[in-house]
């Protein structure tokens, strides 16, 4: 990404120049901006949960059934979304409460990621791991704020062909994920802000985890499966 120092455009803003010395009005503006963005974030999280209420229940139930058959969860994304994928994986594998299940982020191992990126190409860093790890009872969750990342799309296709439950978290207009037949569920967060989309992805992931936990704690056929 290209970067520009504020100096290169400062001539456009003659009144916010270096003469400014009183920080109070800036601090007030910053605080108001923080509250505004926070309210937007909260509203988007609520709207996303409402929009996908039924699908989140269906997806979480499907995940629980796979975990009860010994399935495991793979999460993946790029950049900030890779860290959100890692947070989601650890929510499933070592939750603060409830029942842990096998889950990990496919970006977590730098030896694997750099080996694949260097030898077979960056767009295959997740697909090749799906090929190596996946069984038909597993689950794949891909996180992308654009819904267009090639490395995610190829992994989703592979996961779908191998019988995994495939779930996509997308943003903006959903991108390629929104129309991908390889995805069993696609949760698109309708926003133009990458930050606000990621905050909603986390909340949608939390709901998936919550549904999964609820389903796995439920007695089945009169016998408690725990």
């Amino acid at each position: 990404m290209t970067t520009h120092d504020s100096e290169s455009t400062s001539f456009l803003y003659p009144f916010i120049e270096s003469e400014e010395t009183d920080a109070k009005s800036l601090l007030d503006d910053l605080a108001a901006s923080a509250r505004g963005k926070a309210a937007e974030s909260a509203g988007l999280q609520r709207a996303s949960l409402d929009e996908y209420d039924d699908a989140l229940t269906a997806a979480g139930t499907g995940m629980a059934e796979r975990f009860l058959r010994g399935g495991r969860l793979y999460t993946f994304g790029n950049g900030g979304s890779s860290t959100d994928a890692a947070t989601l994986a650890s929510l499933f594998s070592r939750p603060a409460r409830g029942r842990p299940v096998a889950a990990w982020s496919l970006a977590a191992d730098e030896a694997v990621v750099t080996a694949l990126g260097n030898d077979v190409g960056f767009e295959l860093i997740f697909k090749r791991q799906i090929i190596a790890h996946a069984r038909d009872r597993d689950v794949a969750i891909a996180l992308s704020t654009s819904g267009n990342s090639e490395d995610l799309m190829t992994a989703i296709t592979e996961a779908n062909q191998r019988g995994l439950l495939t779930i996509g978290f997308s943003g903006h207009d959903g991108g390629r994920m929104a129309v991908a037949e390889d995805l069993d569920f696609c949760f698109t967060v309708h926003s133009q802000s990458i930050h606000r989309i990621q905050e909603s992805h986390a909340m949608l992931g939390y709901r998936l985890w919550s549904v999964t936990q609820q389903h796995m704690a439920r007695p089945r056929n009169g016998v408690h499966t725990l």
């Binding site: 007030d28 926070a38 999280q45």
Partner: protein
């Protein structure tokens, strides 16, 4: 019934938004002076990585790339000690009882590093970090609901707003910038031992907010070890701080 988490945005009230604003201005000022932002999150390493990538590779085209690194070794205190230099920044995403973060935050004063602490649950004591950005919720699931993500997103967004105000990036009037300032004068500066006392001289190399110096440690005794925390007054170590003993910020 599935549990519904409270949206992170609902925690950002008047107080927390003011805390975020003050923290962002300090971040911008330190970056302006050449700081690197070190990030630790021993319980939730992905949060440390997310903060670092946020600053290094901004999601908004045209925003400056800023130096930030996630420290995720098994011993983040040792990693932060060797990485940080006076004028740098240390951000933790952790609960108030995380031992490594408690330790790093108190030592940061001897390293000359400005500290920020994002977390939830019981608060750290006042003064445990320069900026405490706290989510007042006892829900243990808060770290996984996007609330911390929102907090450091806001911090990043506000910091970049500050860069549009270059006149405010200089230290505020009244801040300690020279020796006459009471809080960082020679009345008892926190120091961390770098080299233990060399035999008969009674001098140990210590590290303070302003850099390394040799200090007379004869008052404290010969069993001083590297990484011990002491208070320095007029060139001499006058007190040793025990583990867990708080420092006044």
């Amino acid at each position: 019934m599935t549990t519904t988490a409270q949206p992170g945005g609902s925690f950002v009230d008047t107080d927390l938004s003011a805390d975020l604003a003050a923290a962002a201005l300090d971040l911008a000022r330190k970056f302006h002076d050449g700081a690197t932002l070190w990030v630790i999150s021993p319980q939730w390493e992905p949060h440390a990585h997310h903060v670092a990538v946020e600053f290094v590779h901004p999601v908004i085209m045209g925003k400056r790339a800023l130096p930030s690194v996630a420290l995720v070794d098994p011993d983040p205190v040792a990693q932060a000690r060797v990485a940080s230099q006076p004028g740098d920044l240390l951000l933790a995403v952790a609960s108030a009882d995380e031992p490594a973060v408690v330790d790093a935050m108190r030592r940061a004063q001897a390293w000359g590093v400005l500290t920020l602490w994002i977390g939830s649950g019981p608060r750290p004591p006042a003064g445990a970090a320069n900026h405490i950005l706290w989510v007042d919720s006892d829900d243990p699931m808060v770290p996984a609901t996007g609330t911390f993500v929102l907090m450091y997103h806001l911090l990043w967004e506000l910091t970049h707003v500050c860069f549009e105000h270059p006149g405010l990036l200089k230290p505020a009037a009244g801040e300690c910038t020279d020796e006459v300032c009471v809080t960082c004068s020679d009345e008892g500066r926190l120091a961390e031992v770098v080299l233990e006392p060399a035999d008969a001289t009674g001098q140990a190399l210590v590290r303070t907010a302003t850099g390394e110096e040799w200090a007379d440690v004869t008052m404290i005794g010969p069993d001083l070890a590297p990484n011990d925390l002491v208070l320095i007054h007029a060139g001499a170590a006058i007190t040793r701080l025990d583990a867990g003993q708080g420092v006044t910020r």
